[in-house]
Amino acid sequence: MEEERFLESIDPELAEFIKAKINSFIRWDILKLLYSNPHTVDTAERLARQCGRPVESVIRELEGMVRDGLLEMHLVAGIPVYSLPKNASTRQLIEKFLEACRNRQVRVRVVYHILKSQEVRFGEG
């Protein structure tokens, strides 16, 4: 696929991570928020406010991120709260991804990849 070729120049482990797990801008925002504030444990509504994104979209993404192992979800008295996973290797990949995104070339590639994956998602819908 065209987008796969576009990610070829990135470190293979990172490219795989981006292809498999980073398919929306909201996911990127949430990871950035939680990576910068690593001991955040909060509800979907509050995370949405902290990212400045609509609650419904954030809830949808959070569920997917938990399924993909990017986040952990715990119930506190029945209320779901989200945080970064304790798993060190996933945390390292998230760090690697966000550090790589400091580079404009990588950012452009990630943006292109997200736009392409959204095209696929909307096309399927």
């Binding site: 504030n37 690593p38 001991h39 444990v41 509800t43 902290q50 506190v76 209320i79 709260v81």
Partner: protein
């Protein structure tokens, strides 16, 4: 009795040595008076001077802002977090309250696993939106304070004061529940704004009764000398005391 020193120059002396272990202490002030800095300094000094790991809980301000602000004072919060001595945690008041109530919650785990002894909650003002009824709010805060005591944490709760200068001293319910109550205020003297600190209440302990000057320096907060020859300081716009009074009682 043993005290928990804040390590803040001048403040422990005002508190007759420091807070009581396992006490809950309220610090109230207008924006910029130094509440959060005081809290951060209490936590930082606890770790580096007294070997007591700490937990800083924020409801609205992002932890990365604390890392940055702390760095400006030369306190490396990120490195302390990496060493497992500090945790700057962002959550919501509802979740914190529920977490403290349950067995083996996040705070309790931090106490058991990391040996956390000091906690700062910045700011408790956000609790006020959990209950509109004053009786319900008091019960909620009472339960919260007791949960912190159950964990034997020495706590600072900050509270935002809506008035910049002077204003009436409210009868905020939490001030009755906590062990000590410290007020930070702005004071205008000769067209200049100063910061003032007063220990209004300290249950079971003697404490300084005077109003002292507070400065935020590059090393953090320092409590300086008392304001001399002025009255009505807490109104925000003090007056000079009568010269004769000054002659008689101060300039000896």
């Amino acid at each position: 009795m043993e005290r928990v020193k804040t390590g803040i120059p001048g403040l422990d002396e005002m508190l007759s040595g420091g807070f009581y272990p396992g006490s809950v202490n309220l610090v109230e002030g207008a924006p910029g008076t130094g509440k959060s800095t005081l809290g951060m300094q209490f936590i930082y000094n606890g770790i580096v001077k007294f070997g007591e790991p700490g937990l800083l809980i924020t409801f609205e301000e992002f932890p990365e802002q604390y890392y940055r602000d702390a760095e400006n004072f030369g306190w490396d919060f990120r490195s302390l977090e990496k060493k497992g001595l500090l945790r700057v945690m962002m959550t919501s008041p509802e979740i914190l309250k529920l977490d403290l109530e349950r067995v083996s919650g996040m705070v309790e785990q931090a106490v058991l696993e990391k040996g956390v002894k000091r906690i700062v909650v910045d700011s408790i003002t956000h609790f006020e939106r959990l209950a509109s009824d004053p009786v319900e709010l008091r019960n909620l805060e009472y339960s919260f304070v007791n949960a912190l005591k159950r964990l034997e944490l020495t706590a600072i709760l900050t509270r935002e004061s809506p008035v910049l200068l002077g204003g009436e001293m409210g009868t905020y319910p939490l001030s009755y529940i906590v062990d000590s109550y410290i007020l930070l205020r702005y004071v205008e003297i000769d067209s200049r704004i100063y910061k003032a600190i007063l220990v209004l209440k300290f249950r079971g302990s003697d404490h300084a009764k005077d109003i002292r000057r507070l400065e935020i320096t590059s090393n953090g907060i320092e409590v300086l000398e008392r304001f001399e020859g002025r009255e009505g300081l807490m109104s925000g716009t003090p007056r000079r005391m009568a010269e004769s009074f000054v002659e008689a009682f101060i300039r000896k």
